[in-house]
């Protein structure tokens, strides 16, 4: 007996233990979702890691003008003005040397293909290309801990069984021979042509286009040279410019002087170049000490003698169109006032390295404006700072030694501000919210601004709620208070079935059935939305003309009347009036009106402001005219009262329309147009797109109606029966009971229903994905598409690389969604708990 009891107890406590674990597990599950999302997002905002400095002593003393390092950070090439020396970066040994005979005057480095364009005093123009190579000699299992050594001027990597060789092949090619001295030169090459610009000793600017063509038959390659000249001796005057740069699109040649003078030559018309701009970049006497392009040859990085680094690109002037001017966008200050000695743009992203005279090395990211790393180096006469293409090593090269830092900054472009704030991206005029995660071009910078997505989410949700909330709540009130008892359960069950419809089905119907259908009857649809309620209220008034006993028995037939007369008549009215209105206010073509500036916006305003018109009219009526109206009814017979009610209804309707037109006229007069240029929301109605917010809102409303309906119906049902009975017993009608007793008590429950519906709409994915067009734009135009956080995740996450910035930002989007719905659901639940307490006290 005791044994059995013991077993019983043991099982009992084991069950208790297991069930407790399971119960607590559900809280943990919620927490786990939240924690995991956060855990994935956090690395975005971490500053990254930089190792301690490692020093390498160089075998021969170096002098430099420029240098470049290979992708892996093993092999560098130093250019000293006469020769190129290949140098091993891990021990400082010089591997090979390549001399160029002749005195080199001008050079320019092109980071795209690791080449230098050089000119010498004898008028030779050459291109020296560094071909870094990796050669796998033996493959095998690796340990991840490689050993390096040098063999025949090559670096050998031995890692476990695998062996690889790293080498550089320096190739110098003469491309032009002139008989004068070339002082400055730059060139941009593409597949089979090379665009060259150089300034000779007489200050004549030469623009050359070298193109090679392969003869299809003989395979012979023929070269053609086009040249145009611009004599700039008059413009330039006494001094010589220090830098000459060609931009990426080869439309501008830019000359910079030491005293910050800047001359911009426009070469859009190759045969006829002209000076576009001639100005000083700095007005406070700062001097340019170093200058280079950022990756992509669009942004100019200017280092000055006060230790600042400024970024510049051409911006369209706000005053006149097509007038581009080089404008200062960002300023980075290193903190000490020593001149900038060297700038090295990253080959991977929009970050760059700045070296000051005081041996301070700083790494910045341009777009985010983030300082990624800064340190002051001791014991080195630093000349040049470099980064490899993987952006995981920084080299600072001095005369006798090299300082190396291993860096690991996975998300340099991300700051809190770059995600949620406005960011000025390269070549744009002003800071903006942009989401653009991929593009066809190579040196594309992904733009991760979540605001357009958050905006789209809210836009879709608001429109959906405008549809869903009135319909759902009214439906709930009617079902719980007025519907015939016999049908109540089946109505509820039907709407619960509606809740179970998969959203992919709704999305499919929205996109492939509703969108093409609505496209031809947009205005009709809008008028139906207005006219159906109008028709219903009108029918309600008409039914008041019925004999009183019939009216009292109306409850049974009202729904039938609504379905057979009310709604169809509303649709009929909507279609008919829309045709008239289109002719009267929308110039005969609503869609054309939507995007024609010259048409008056008054009709659109009146449509949008109709609710305001109704509100104001009702307010005036209730406040000032109600007593007067009651006095008219006093003593009149039943039928006359009914007729007067109808007349009142018509007068109020006309008054509402009038008031909304009055508002519309005022706004039109002031010059505010709902189609263009509104602050923040841009427009309310504008150019029509087939898959638009109105349709998505409508279908998404359809998707959230059941949940709002069910929860509010439950709330209405939960109002204690004795309250209802007491009210009816005092002689109040059913309607008075609903308005004065039931609704106030159930209000908080209905509020939580709306919140839950709101949460649903925010996270709805399939409908938006299929029917919203997925354009991440920020305007409130009900006829344009949008992209929500959820749809964006569904579209882009399958393609995002694990651990990349894009991947983590998408997790951030999910986290934002989670937090939004968490807040909303928690509020809803707290309200509901309070409501439950209060209603149980009643």
């Amino acid at each position: 007996m005791r044994d059995k009891n013991f077993a019983r107890r043991a099982i009992d406590s084991l069950a208790k233990y297991l069930i407790t674990v399971g119960g607590i597990g559900t809280i943990v599950a919620v927490l786990l979702v939240f924690l995991f999302l956060t855990y994935t997002v956090i690395p975005l905002f971490k500053s990254g890691e930089v190792s301690d400095r490692k020093s390498v002593v160089v075998s021969n003393e170096l002098s430099f003008k420029h240098a470049v390092v290979d992708e892996y950070g093993l092999l560098g090439v130093v250019f000293d003005g006469k020769s190129f020396s290949a140098i091993s970066m891990f021990n400082g040994e010089i591997l090979t040397k390549f001399n160029i005979d002749g005195e080199i005057i001008g050079y320019n480095f092109n980071s795209k293909d690791d080449s230098y364009t050089i000119s010498d005093s004898k008028g030779r123009l050459m291109v020296a290309k560094m071909n870094f190579g990796k050669n796998n000699i033996k493959s095998g299992d690796t340990t991840g801990n490689p050993n390096y050594s040098i063999r025949d001027g090559k670096i050998v990597e031995i890692d476990g069984d695998a062996e690889s060789e790293y080498s550089v092949d320096i190739k110098v090619e003469e491309i032009l021979q002139k008989d004068y001295k070339i002082v400055l030169v730059d060139s941009v090459s593409s597949e089979n042509s090379r665009f060259l610009a150089f300034l000779d000793e007489n200050k004549v600017l030469h623009i050359d286009l070298l193109s090679s063509k392969e003869n299809m038959l003989t395979g012979e390659i023929s070269q053609t040279i086009d040249e145009s000249l611009l004599d700039m001796s008059g413009i330039i005057g006494g001094s010589f410019p220090k830098y000459l740069k060609i931009n990426s699109s080869k439309t501008n040649i830019m000359l910079f002087f030491e005293d910050s003078r800047f001359i911009n030559v426009d070469t859009k018309n190759f045969d006829n170049p002209f000076v576009l701009e001639d100005k000083k970049l700095f007005n406070d006497g700062r001097k340019i000490t170093y200058l280079d392009f950022l990756i992509g040859r669009n942004t100019i990085l200017v280092g000055d003698d006060k230790g600042n680094l400024t970024t510049w690109w051409s911006v369209e002037s706000s005053l006149s169109k097509n007038n581009f001017q080089l404008t200062n966008i960002h300023t980075f200050s290193s903190g000490d006032e020593t001149p900038v000695r060297f700038i090295y743009p990253s080959k991977r992203d929009k970050s760059f390295l700045v070296l000051n005279e005081s041996n301070t090395i700083s790494l910045y990211h341009m777009t985010s404006g983030k300082k990624l790393f800064q340190t002051k180096l001791e014991g080195i006469n630093s000349q040049i700072g470099l980064m490899n293409q993987k952006n995981n090593k920084i080299f600072v090269i001095g005369k006798k030694n090299i300082a190396i830092f291993d860096i690991n900054i996975p998300h340099p472009e991300v700051t809190f501000k770059s995600i949620f704030g406005k960011v000025q991206y390269e070549l744009t005029n002003k800071p903006e919210h942009v989401w653009q995660s991929s593009s066809g071009s190579d040196d594309f910078e992904p733009k991760f601004g979540l605001m357009p997505l958050i905006f789209g989410t809210i836009k879709g949700t608001i429109i959906a709620m405008i549809f869903a909330v009135p319909i759902a709540i009214m439906g709930a009130i009617y079902t719980s208070e007025f519907a015939h008892k016999r049908y109540r359960n089946s109505i509820k069950s039907t709407i619960e079935v509606m809740a179970s419809l998969p959203s992919v089905v709704l999305g499919f119907i929205a996109a492939l059935i509703v969108s093409p259908f609505v496209e031809n009857i947009v205005l009709g649809l809008i008028f139906c939305i207005i006219m159906i309620p109008f028709s219903l209220i009108f029918m309600g008034h008409l039914s008041q003309l019925l004999p009183k006993n019939t009216l009292n028995a109306m409850d049974r037939y009202r729904l039938l009347g609504i379905a057979i007369i009310g709604i169809p008549f509303g649709i009929f009215l909507g279609m008919k009036t829309s045709v008239i209105a289109e002719k009267l206010f929308f110039y005969g073509d609503f869609k054309l009106w939507l995007h024609t500036h010259s048409y008056s916006p008054i009709g659109g305003w009146a449509l949008i402001l109709l609710p305001a018109g109704i509100f104001v009219t009702m307010f005036i009526y209730r406040k000032f005219l109600y007593d007067f109206y009651i006095s008219i009814l006093d003593g009149k017979s039943y039928t006359i009262c009914g007729l007067i009610e109808i007349i009142k209804f018509f007068i109020l309707t006309i008054a509402s329309v009038f008031v909304s037109f009055l508002f519309a006229a005022i706004l039109t007069k002031i010059g505010i147009d709902l189609r263009f240029g509104l602050p923040v929301i841009e427009s309310i109605m504008s150019t029509y797109v087939q898959r638009n917010a109105l349709i998505v809102g409508f279908i998404m409303g359809f998707a959230v109606i059941p949940i709002i309906y069910t929860v509010s119906e439950d709330a209405l049902n939960a109002v204690p029966e004795h309250l209802r009975s007491a009210s009816l017993a005092t002689g109040a009608t059913q309607w008075q009971t609903v308005v004065n007793i039931i609704l106030p008590v159930a209000m908080s429950g209905i509020f939580s229903a709306v919140m839950i519906g709101f949460g649903r709409a925010i996270g709805e994915t399939m409908i938006v994905l299929m029917a919203a067009g997925n354009t991440p734009i920020m305007d409130m135009n009900i006829f344009s598409g949008f992209r929500t956080l959820s749809a964006n995740i569904a579209v882009e996450l399958p393609e995002a690389v694990i651990g990349s910035t894009h991947y983590r930002i998408l997790y951030l989007a999910a986290l934002v969604l989670f937090v939004m719905t968490f807040i909303i659901n928690t509020i809803a639940e707290l309200v509901r708990i309070r409501y439950r307490k209060r209603s149980s006290q009643l």
Binding site: A15, G22, G23, E496, V497, S500, G635
Partner: protein, 578 residues
């Protein structure tokens, strides 16, 4: 009556609120009308798709001859310039229609000849139309439908019969035979060769694992271990070579067999004449279904209709999913939902029991309730994101590292799959089960529990023998609702494993029979993919409708059953409170 009748009506109407009641009722009615409309739309299109249509031959005024099925007709507004060019008779007709002209979507098929599946034809273009008796519709394995007039039955390219009856009797004679051969070939390709590939892959991985172990042993520089690993490696190498040889032999044998089958079934064909005068040889095995569309009797029509439904429900998809069946999607959905239920039901029930029977403090229950409501309110896509990151990329990647290292860098569990989808959806549907179970436990009267305690039962015994049996219908409700949710949810599945076309089913005849790592097809995802990713959307839309009908039917039936059980449960326990 006269005594209490109100004489003054000044606020009578206001107190009745009749006008506003119409508005309120309108809200309800609009919801009901919308749902009715939606279901009717899906029913009409979903059920109507498979009705066999007649073949219409249209002679156009420009001399062109078209033949096919009229799948859709609609009115459109004709532009003025076109209208002016028409003759008076057409003008009159169009004027009568309110300047609208009728046009027909003609499915002309014969894609390899015409490069079009469909063509719009306006009424004014048609000179006359006829319904040729001897025209045949052929549904084929590839290239969509074929419309033509049979001319010859050919074996080995030689005409066997040229008259209609001969062709029909030959078709009847050989079609089943040829299809059987073709099915055998497909089955060899899929099952036997698939099995061979599977085994050889397994052996290859074994070998790779041995080689990895060997290099690991080498790294330790322990002579003994190296020797041991070397021995294992050589053994598996020998094994692999032997296996490879035998497999190759088998493989060649199968290929030969396939070739034989192919040669045999490709002998039979029917030679057709198309409406535009081209000739075309259609192989017999390609024909899935063919009939004289304009000669069908009612019962034959019903036969075609149902045979199409049977193909839809049991067949494999063809032509980039836009034709054929959805069996793999049905199967995937069912398997996924069942695996999901295996996780969600026990946990949901345990959590509900904890909340109702064990948790004591009110605070804790409040927090739990907020947690559950949040679980219910978190957007499904967030679960997808979580499932992908946590289950696939974190858990799955660890599993791969531990057990499937030989296969890396190709992921086994480290990517979306049916297990992760099921787990993700289990998390998503957990609140559904919890809430339903809770409701059911609530409905068990306390007196029953007290009676049980009074008899000396422990808490667990009370739960086990008194509460749970009575809560069973509620648990069933939760289970069914969770299944319906699982069947209808698409967004998270897009991230964690549902695919357009799964090469292999998650359950098959190869050991271990259930392959939890495989990706799968899902009805909801199928709709999304067909409607939005397919290139030939006109051809895909009927399929989308049918699939939608199927999905809605499944989901609605599940829901109706759940609602029915719940309502019965409520009634049952209202009566039993004592």
């Amino acid at each position: 009556m006269g005594l209490f009748e109100r004489k003054n009506y000044k606020i009578f109407f206001r107190s009745k609120g009749e006008a506003v009641l119409w508005l309120t009722g309108g809200g309800l009615m609009i919801s009901l009308i919308m749902i009715a409309f939606l279901i009717l739309l899906v029913l009409k299109n979903g059920l109507g798709n498979y009705i066999p249509l007649p073949i219409t031959m249209m002679e156009l005024k420009n001399g062109e001859l078209l033949m096919g099925e009229v799948t859709k007709s609609e009115l459109y507004t004709l532009d003025k310039a076109k209208f002016d060019q028409l003759d008076d008779k057409d003008k009159l007709r169009i004027n009568e229609n309110g300047m609208k002209e009728k046009r027909y979507l003609l499915r002309i098929g014969n894609f390899e000849l015409t490069n079009e599946h469909f063509k719009w034809v306006s009424e004014y273009e048609i000179k006359n139309r006829s319904y040729p008796k001897d025209a045949v519709i052929i549904e084929r394995l590839e290239w969509g439908r074929f419309y033509g007039i049979p001319k010859e039955f050919r074996i080995d390219g030689k005409a066997v019969s040229t008259d209609l009856n001969g062709i029909i009797s030959n078709y009847k004679k050989y079609h089943d035979y040829v299809v059987k051969l073709w099915e055998e070939k497909v089955s060899i390709e899929k099952k036997e060769i698939g099995k061979l590939n599977h085994y050889i892959e397994k052996e290859r991985l074994k070998l790779k694992k041995a080689s990895m172990d060997l290099s690991k042993a080498k790294a330790t520089k322990n002579e003994l271990k190296i020797k041991e690993a070397q021995a294992i490696y050589e053994m598996s190498k020998a094994e692999f070579d032997a296996f490879d040889k035998s497999v190759k032999k088998n493989y060649e044998r199968l290929i030969d067999k396939i070739d034989d089958l192919k040669k045999e079934y490709e002998r039979y064909s029917i030679h057709f004449l198309t409406v535009d005068g081209k000739e075309k040889d259609v192989k017999l095995f390609e024909m899935i279904r063919s009939y004289y569309a304009n000669q069908l009797t009612f019962s034959e029509k019903v036969g075609v209709y149902f045979s199409r439904w049977v193909e839809f429900l049991t067949g494999e998809p063809r032509e980039a999913n836009s034709e054929g069946g959805v069996f793999p999607a049905i199967f995937g959905t069912v398997v996924m939902t069942l695996i999901m239920s295996m996780f969600v039901v026990p946990f949901g029930v345990i959590a509900a029991i904890y909340m109702k029977e064990y948790a004591k403090s009110g605070k804790l229950i409040s927090i739990l309730r907020i947690a559950i409501n949040n679980l219910a309110g978190v957007p499904s896509i967030v679960y997808g994101v979580f499932g992908l990151g946590f289950f696939a990329y974190t858990l799955g990647a660890s599993i791969d590292k531990l057990f499937y290292s030989a296969k890396l860098p190709n992921p086994t569990f480290g990517t979306g799959g049916i297990l992760w989808s099921s787990l993700t959806l289990a998390l998503l549907t957990l609140p559904v089960v919890i809430v339903a179970t809770e409701e059911a436990i609530n409905a068990v009267p306390n007196s029953l529990r007290e009676g049980s305690y009074a008899c000396g039962a422990t808490k667990w015994q009370t739960i086990r023998y008194i509460v749970l049996p009575r809560a069973m219908p509620g648990i069933m409700t939760g289970f069914i609702l969770a299944m319906s949710r699982g069947a209808g949810e698409v967004a998270p599945l897009m991230l964690v494993g549902a695919v357009k076309l799964a090469p292999e089913m998650p359950v098959d005849s190869i050991f271990p029979f259930v392959h939890l790592e495989r990706s799968f097809m899902h009805l909801g995802f199928h709709i999304y993919d067909l409607g939005f990713q397919s290139q030939n959307s006109d051809a895909a839309i009927p399929m989308v409708y049918t699939t939608t009908l199927l999905l809605i039917t499944i989901v609605v039936v599940l829901n109706v059953v759940a609602i029915y059980i719940r309502n019965r449960l409520r009634k049952k326990f209202i009566g039993s409170i004592f």
